[in-house]
């Protein structure tokens, strides 16, 4: 187990290092260079040059850059030189995390429930409805889902607020829009997994021992069927958190995805890079945590590593 965790942590650290290095060298490849913006004032350019050490050889620049990142200094915005990436993150990251967590909670809880109901009603109309929801959910990109939800629930029917993020009612549409795809895939996997588990011998054993149908479903079938769902959680966390990019700009939520998209649209290179490093690192760490949790949950890994 310790070996497994160490290996995961090691790979994640290498991944972060590679990401940071790639970002650094890509920045040197960028067309025109990030600081050639004519609108940039002379002092700002000098400050930026001094900050990034452009007068020094590239290797030294690289070391400076690494040091900056190690001290959690992610750089400036070239568009608004008074803003630092850290300021932006401090103001916006909590919104993104909040939205991401809500979307994940919605996706996992509804996905599991839908999958279970669907599997228990295999072949009848209820199953069909949930299967159709799942199939549609996995074929609609999240920004289209968000836009359609916004149109109907906010514009046409006026049930929920159209944008911004100021209370529970405001969070419903963005969370659902963001989590719908994941909810659909969780429900699909859960359904398939439930149907596979129900054919296992231990279910028959449990039934033949006289345990009630409800207890068998609850204690044996669902518990075992949930394992494959956990395996997709890692990629899912990443997908949901990158999905916040579009959902935030759609619902005018002041999260970091919105700033990220803005910085991309404004060609604000240093902001893009700083945020990419931060975002990438964050997602790699999320993945690592999910992997480690999976190791703890899965007895095969838990025992094999001992």
């Amino acid at each position: 187990m310790t070996k497994y965790i160490l290996k995961r942590v090691g790979i994640s650290l290498i991944t972060i290092f590679v990401l940071v290095t790639v970002v650094f060298f890509l920045a040197r490849l960028m067309p025109g260079g990030p600081f050639n913006d004519p609108k940039l004032s002379e002092t700002a350019r000098e400050n930026l040059s001094a900050y990034y050490g452009f007068d020094k050889p590239i290797f030294e620049q690289y070391i400076t850059y690494l040091k900056n990142i190690l001290s959690f200094d992610f750089g400036f915005s070239t568009k608004y030189p008074s803003r630092t990436v850290n300021d932006l993150l401090a103001g916006s990251f909590p919104y993104s995390v909040d939205l991401g967590v809500r979307a994940l909670c919605f996706a996992i809880s509804f996905g599991l429930v839908f999958g279970i109901i669907s599997a228990l009603n295999r072949g009848n109309k209820i199953d069909l409805i949930f299967v159709i929801i799942a199939v549609i959910g996995t074929s609609v990109p999240d920004f289209i889902m968000g836009a359609i939800l916004q149109y109907f629930f906010a514009i046409e029917w006026g049930l929920l607020p159209i944008a911004e993020y100021k209370g529970f009612a405001y969070t419903i549409l963005p969370s659902v829009g963001l989590g719908f795809y994941t909810m659909a895939s969780v429900s699909r996997i859960m359904r398939a997994s439930m149907l596979e588990v129900v054919q296992q011998d231990y279910i028959k054993t449990a039934r033949s021992k006289g345990i009630s149908r409800f207890r068998v479903t609850w204690k044996h079938q669902i518990r075992n069927a949930i394992m494959p769902v956990i395996t997709i959680l890692g990629p899912t966390v990443a997908a949901v958190l990158t999905g916040t990019f579009v959902i935030e700009s759609l619902f005018a939520i002041p999260g970091m995805g919105k700033y990220y998209v803005e910085s991309v649209q404004n060609n604000d290179y240093s902001l893009i890079l700083g945020m990419t490093v931060f975002y990438g690192t964050f997602l790699v760490l999320c993945n690592m945590i999910v992997d480690i949790l999976y190791g703890i949950v899965d007895p095969r890994i838990r025992i094999a590593g001992k």
């Binding site: 790979i11 890509l26 549609i136 074929s139 609609v140 836009a147």
Partner: protein
């Protein structure tokens, strides 16, 4: 309770004779692997319908823009945000451009990106995975660690970075997707080759002195071709989604060039005034992805030897 008579008497049986010809006859026509797969795809209604729909989409993407009297970037200030009509089959967008033409121009871009990215990923992944699985050892170790690292970085982050550096356009999109996309196929192929390389037919090829490249390409890969094609089909929707996402945040394809992502983005801006501008591209993105997923499921079943002969 009356007793049920179950005893069988000799009179109830009769000799029907022996027909050697019939016993020896082949009940099913012998089919090659591909014929069998084709037969099963045809009998799977959802998959077959999906296949036909996709063929129609591809044909329309090729021919519809040629046959229409409108250009894809031809604006018309007198026909803005129109709904569906005989004049403009799918209406017009905020600049009066015909949506029917734009959708199929967009399909050209989106489908090309989806297909090319998926095919290039598969080819690179299959060859590299084949060698890794066959040789094992150091090469395998190095490639697998590289994959671990690439896999850890969210693919969209890499795509965004590459797009920022290379600028928007079809080529940069494909390059960005290939940089991260080959890992899945590579892992999969490696595992399969690892499993198959101990089998007798590989040994036979080795004894015959076939070069390694031939063994991997001619002996092992055909055995996993079905699964590779299934994976390929399933990978296209991901690429289409990614293009849509990148175009949406302004990095993929830039207007007036059309792609489904660009059209959907324009649609979300016009949602309050003319929702059909979003619905039209959304419909085509969704049905295409849906069809590809269904076809993928059908192919997986069709290529699965365990399901052979079952209907």
């Amino acid at each position: 309770m009356s007793e049920i008579k179950t005893e069988l008497t000799k009179e109830q049986f009769e000799i029907v004779g022996k027909n050697i010809e019939k016993m020896e006859s082949i009940s099913r026509p012998s089919l090659t692997f591909w014929q069998e797969a084709w037969r099963r795809i045809r009998s799977n209604r959802a998959a077959f319908f999906s296949l036909i729909l996709l063929i129609i989409y591809v044909l329309l993407a090729i021919f519809a823009p040629m046959l229409s009297k409108y250009g894809f970037d031809q604006q018309d200030a007198y026909a803005m945000k129109q709904g569906l009509s005989l004049e403009h089959w799918l209406g017009t967008d905020s600049l009066g451009r015909d949506l029917w033409v734009r959708v199929w121009m967009g399909a050209r871009v989106s489908l090309t990106i989806g297909l090319l990215a998926a095919v290039i990923n598969s080819v690179i992944g299959t060859i590299l995975g084949g060698f890794c699985g066959y040789y094992g050892g150091k090469l395998d170790m190095v490639v697998m660690r590289i994959i671990d690292v690439i896999y850890g970085i969210p693919s969209l982050i890499v795509c965004i970075l590459v797009m920022v550096v290379l600028g928007s356009g079809v080529q940069s999109l494909i390059i960005a997707m290939v940089l991260v996309g080959w890992t899945g196929t590579c892992r999969f192929t490696r595992g399969e080759v690892y499993r198959l390389k101990e089998q007798e037919f590989v040994l036979a090829a080795q004894v015959m002195g076939e070069p390694v490249f031939t063994i991997i390409l001619r002996e092992i890969i055909p055995n996993i071709m079905g699964l590779l094609i299934t994976n390929l089909t399933m990978a296209i929707p991901g690429a289409i989604f990614q293009e849509a996402f990148l175009s949406y945040i302004g990095l993929g394809i830039s207007p007036p060039q059309a792609s489904w992502g660009v059209l959907a983005k324009e649609g979300t801006k016009m949602l309050q005034v003319a929702p059909h501008i979003l619905y039209v591209p959304a419909f085509f993105i969704c049905t295409t992805v849906l069809a590809l997923n269904q076809l993928g499921n059908g192919l997986r079943d069709a290529f699965d030897p365990r399901l052979r002969g079952t209907e």
